[in-house]
Symmetry: C2
Subunit: 200 residues, 2 copies
């Protein structure tokens, strides 16, 4: 073992973290807090075929591309993970992640359960973190507060959430998000601890 | 999976941490810092047959017992780990650890490599952390500064240190101790992260 790599991730290579939650789990706020706290952490920007929301910026929030192009990239096996959610494609390019970790940066993927399971299969060293909302009631309140959902959508999302929660045991870590500061600090600790972990 | 146990260690049960280093690795200072920082963390007080040092208190630093009694307790299989170091016995009673973890407290064992390997074999869920001194020179300086060693002892300890360092890859985590505050904070993070870890 080369002692000079201690506390330095995986022999100088960056680590790959996957963070998932259920809709309304507070994941976006946690990730914002993380990005401010951890210098060497980078988000991987996903590709998607959905329409940008008004506040979203091409290349910063997502790479918005056509369905046709997305499907060709799937055929070319360019994605580390991809999924269809509510009829739209979302995917993470393998090359985006590799270029960051190869340069010693840790990468955070903000993806759903479907995508996380694909990453887990393809990248054995990926570290999976699930943000758990304090309860379904609280989660429903958060969804309603966001006010972007029709009642029908809301019920669909809550059902999806229940199904996603069943995958928690496939994740390496679960972080309860009943206090945003505590949740950010717990995930920061997980990232820091993983940098100290001895790998075979 | 019972969501109420999230972030709460191993289903409400405390976790067992083992912390080792080489002589002069700065482990004692790290542990002092940890005990001040983490509320639910407890040291398990070991039994030993060596003489107490002037500043040591019976039952706080060690349980000082006779060689005879120690050997009888070994025969009775009461120890989670025991070892002979520089001609003296040191051991951790299984019952001490179980009573703490059973009451939801995390336990820290301050033991050497020999002991850590026994714990690893007997307690699959134990989490092993190695404190790595920044370099052998620095480590020698620390040993000399302590001023309690004759030159002969010093050489013996340095050779032992080199042998112990070879066991790092058996530990779950390595923490470089080139800055004491950073090292304490890294170990705190490891403990906190392990509380969020999903266990089978």
């Amino acid at each position: 073992m080369d002692l000079s790599t201690i506390g330095n991730g995986h022999g100088g290579k960056g680590l790959l973290f996957v963070i998932s939650s259920v809709s309304g789990g507070g994941k976006t706020t946690v990730i914002k807090g993380l990005m401010g706290a951890l210098e060497s952490l980078r988000m991987s920007v996903s590709h998607t075929t959905r329409e940008p929301r008004p506040e979203e910026v091409q290349g910063r929030d997502y790479h918005f591309i056509s369905e046709n192009l997305f499907e060709e990239m799937v055929q070319g096996d360019l994605f580390l993970e991809w999924a269809q959610v509510y009829g739209r494609y979302y995917g993470t390019l393998r090359s985006t992640v590799d270029s960051l970790t190869g340069n010693g940066l840790d990468v955070l993927l903000d993806i759903d359960v479907q995508g996380a399971m694909q990453v887990k299969k393809r990248e054995k060293d990926a570290i999976l973190i699930f943000i758990v909302p304090p309860g379904e009631k609280e989660q429903e309140r958060r969804l309603r507060e966001r006010g972007t959902e029709r009642d029908n959508d809301l019920e669909m999302r809550l059902e999806a959430a229940r199904q996603e929660l069943a995958f928690i045991h496939e994740y390496d870590y679960s972080v309860l998000n009943d206090d945003i500061k505590e949740a950010v600090s717990a995930v920061s600790c997980i990232i820091r601890a993983e940098r100290c972990r001895n790998r075979a």
